[in-house]
C-alpha cells in the first residue's frame, strides 16, 4: 500500500528505525486486506485505494473543540497533533510526562503492540511520524485528564497517529484522545497502546468526530497488570468508514477491564467495531457494553470475541451490544463470540438490533407525549446507561447533549 522507503525520512533512534523497516516489510508482505477475511467481514475495505492518499507530515493547526468544550481548561496535560506532526505539548501537572519522537517515545513504542495487530498496525509502527508517549508516574494520582487532540484537514493525506500510555504502578489517570477532521478525504490509521501497571487505574476515552469523507482504521491495544483497572470509553460520531479494533489482554491476575462505547451513524457512514477481551490470567473480569444508533443510510458492524485462555480460571466476562435502527435504510450487524478454554468461568453475551421499542413508545404516547417526542425520549433513554458508564463525566455530558440534538432533529417514522 505504501513504500517501505518512506521509513528512512522519519528520524528517531536507530533501534526504532530498524523496527520500522521490519514492520514495513511485514506489512508489504501481508498486502491489502479483503472483506473475505473474517476480521474485515461486512466492511468496505475493498473500496480502499491507497493511491488516492499521499503519506506526508505537513503539520497544521489545532482542530475544532467539538465535544471537548471546557475539557482542556482543567487538563493535566494537553497535546495537539495535526496532519502527521506534533504541534503543541503543554504539561500542567506533576506526575505526568509527555515524550515525542527522539525524546523518549522511541523505546516505548511497541510496549503493548510490538507488531500488528493487523496490517494497518504494522504500517503504523513503520510510518508513525508523530508518536507521543504519555507516562503516568508510579503512585501518581491525576485529578484531571490528559488530553490528546488529533486533527486532520489536509486533503488526501494518509498518516499514522501513535499514542502510547504508560500507567505506572498504582497510578490513577484518565487520557482522552480526540479525533477531528475537516470535510476532505483522508486516511487516518491511529494505534494506541495502553499499558496499565499493577494496581493502576486508567481511564481512556476516544472521541471520534471526523468529517464525513474521512477513513479511519484505528487500533487500540491494551494490557492490564495485576489488580489493574482499565476503563475504556469510545465515542464514534463521524467518518465515511470508521473502524476501531479494541483488544485488551488481561495478563495480570485480578485485573478488571470495561469497554463502553457510544456510536451514532448518519448519512452513509459505516462504523465498524471489533473487540477482543482476552483473559490470559486467572481472576480477571471484563465488561463490555456497546450501544449505538444508525440513521439515514448508515451502517454499523459490531463483532466481539471473549477469549478465555487455558490458565484463566475464575473469570467473569460479559459482552453486550445493542443497536437501534432509526431509519428503514440503515443497517446494523452484531456478532458476539465466545472462545473458552477453561471451564471455571462465567461468560455471557447478548446483542440486539431493532427499531425504537413499540411498547415503550406506546407507553409514553399513552401519557400524551407526541410520537416524535416519545421516540426521541426513548432513543435518549437508550443511551443513558452507556453514557453514565463512560470514564469521563465531561464527555458523557457533551455526548448526551449531542445525542439530544441529533434525535430532536431526526424523523424516525416508519423505521423497520
Amino acid at each position: 500500500m505504501f513504500s517501505p522507503d518512506l521509513v528512512d525520512a522519519l528520524g528517531g533512534s536507530d533501534a526504532l528505525a530498524k523496527r520500522r523497516r521490519v514492520a514495513a516489510e511485514r506489512a508489504v508482505a501481508a498486502g491489502q486486506p479483503s472483506f473475505t477475511e473474517e476480521v474485515w467481514r461486512y466492511t468496505p475495505i475493498d473500496d480502499l485505494d491507497p493511491a488516492q492518499y499521499a503519506f506526508a507530515a505537513p503539520g497544521g493547526t489545532a482542530g475544532p473543540v467539538g465535544l471537548m468544550s471546557g475539557v482542556d481548561d482543567s487538563a493535566a496535560a494537553v497535546v495537539h497533533i495535526a496532519n502527521g506532526a506534533v504541534v503543541d505539548v503543554s504539561v500542567r501537572a506533576d506526575g505526568v510526562r509527555v515524550d515525542v519522537l527522539g525524546s523518549g517515545a522511541d523505546d516505548l513504542i511497541g510496549t503493548v503492540a510490538p507488531e500488528g495487530p493487523d496490517v494497518f498496525g504494522d504500517w503504523n509502527l513503520a510510518l508513525a511520524s508523530a508518536p507521543v508517549a504519555v507516562s503516568i508516574d508510579p503512585k501518581a494520582v491525576l485529578t484531571a485528564p490528559v488530553v490528546v487532540h488529533v486533527h486532520t484537514d489536509v486533503e488526501g493525506l494518509a498518516w499514522f497517529p501513535r499514542l502510547v500510555v504508560m500507567a505506572g504502578r498504582t497510578s490513577q489517570a484518565t487520557v482522552i484522545e480526540h479525533h477531528t477532521g475537516g470535510n476532505t478525504p483522508a486516511l487516518i490509521c491511529p494505534l494506541t497502546e495502553l499499558s496499565v501497571g499493577d494496581g493502576a487505574h486508567l481511564g481512556h476515552v476516544t472521541v471520534q468526530e471526523l468529517g464525513d469523507t474521512a477513513w479511519q482504521i484505528a487500533n487500540l491495544c491494551a494490557d492490564t497488570g495485576r489488580d489493574a483497572n482499565l476503563r475504556i470509553g469510545h465515542v464514534a460520531m463521524g467518518g465515511d468508514y470508521a473502524r476501531a479494533r479494541i483488544g485488551i489482554d488481561m495478563t495480570g491476575r485480578g485485573g478488571h477491564s470495561e469497554i463502553d462505547a457510544v456510536y451514532f451513524g448518519r448519512g452513509t457512514s459505516t462504523l465498524d467495531f471489533r473487540t477482543f477481551q482476552t483473559h490470559v490470567a486467572p481472576h480477571t473480569t471484563s465488561d463490555l457494553l456497546f450501544k449505538g444508533a444508525v440513521d439515514d443510510y448508515a451502517r454499523a458492524v459490531y463483532t466481539g470475541l471473549i477469549r478465555i485462555e487455558a490458565d484463566a480460571s475464575n473469570v467473569v466476562a460479559d459482552q453486550t451490544n445493542r443497536n437501534l435502527k432509526l431509519s428503514p435504510n440503515a443497517w446494523a450487524e452484531s456478532v458476539p463470540n465466545l472462545e473458552i478454554e477453561n471451564s471455571d468461568v462465567q461468560c455471557s453475551h447478548a446483542s440486539s438490533i431493532g427499531p425504537v421499542d413499540a411498547d415503550q413508545r406506546f407507553y409514553l404516547e399513552s401519557r400524551g407525549v407526541p410520537t416524535d417526542v416519545a421516540e426521541a425520549l426513548v432513543v435518549r433513554g437508550f443511551f443513558d446507561e452507556v453514557l453514565d458508564a463512560l470514564p469521563s463525566e465531561q464527555i458523557s455530558a457533551s455526548v448526551r447533549q449531542r445525542i439530544d440534538e441529533l434525535v430532536s432533529d431526526a424523523d424516525f417514522t416508519a423505521a423497520l
Partner: protein, 296 residues
Amino acid sequence: MSDNSAHTLRIEGLHASAGDTEILQGVDLEVSSGRVHAVMGPNGSGKSTLAHVVMGRPGYEVTAGSVTLDGVDVLSLAPWERAQAGLFLAMQHPTEVPGVSAAQALAEALALRAGNDSPSAEQLERTRSLLEAEAAAVGLKAELVARPLNVDMSGGEKKRNETVQLAVLQPRIAILDEIDSGLDIDALRACANRIEALTEAGLGVLAITHFTRVLEYLRPDEVHVIVDGRIVDSGGPELAEALEADGYTPYLPEEPDAGVAVSIGGLGSTPAAGTGASAAQDPFADPWADPLDELG
C-alpha cells in the same frame, strides 16, 4: 384538565381483532364524568383488549363500531392525541422505559397541553414536585418516581406509579386495566382512595378487573360483565356481589370447552370444576395470565 363540564366516552358496536382472532365482538359502553364503571369478565373475555383498543395500542385492528369522546372520533386519533384529548390508560403491565423519567415524559405531555412545544425548566420542576406529592399520597417512595419509568420496580410499585401519573395528568376519562393486580390491600386502598377523590372532582372511570375485591374500594356506579368480547350483563353494584357469589359460570356456555374464553382461561377445563367451584375457590387464580394480553 379537570373542569366543570361533563365528558362522555361512548363505545358503540366495537369489534376488534388481533391477527386473525376477533376479540371484541360488539361492545357498547358509555362512561361519563364522575361515574365509575366496572367491566368484569373471565380471562380471555377481551377486557384488556378493550382497554388497549380504546387507547390505540398497535397490534389491534378495529373492524367495526365507534369510540367517541364528547363526540370526537377517538379511533382516528394517534394514541398521544387520545391522551391529549383526555383519555388515560393505567396499564396492567406498565412498560419499563430505560433512561426516561416520569417527570420528563409528563412534563412533555403537560407542556403540550398548555400550548408549549417543550417544557421549560420550571415546568419540569413543577411536574417533578407534583409527582412527588402524588407519590406520597399512594405510599410510593419519592425516589421511585424519580427513576426511569417502571425500571427496577415491583409489580405493586408499577401500579402505584400508574395511579401517581393518573393523578398528575388529571384526564377526563381513565381506563384502569387490572389496577389491583400486584397490589397489597394497603396499596390498593391508597390507590383507590386517590382515584375516588379524583372521581369526586369529575373523573370518569372505566375499571377493568377480574376480581370483585377492588370494587370494595373503587365503588362502581355500574358493573358490566364481558364474555367473549361482548357485554352480556349490566347492573348496579349488586351485580358485583352476585359475581362474587356465583362467579362467571351463569354467563358461560354449559359445555366447559365450548367457548374460546373457557378453554383459554382454563375455567372449567376439568369436568369437575362446574360442580366443585365456588367463590371461595377463585377460578381466576392468576390475574396476570390473560393469554390474549400477549397478542398485541
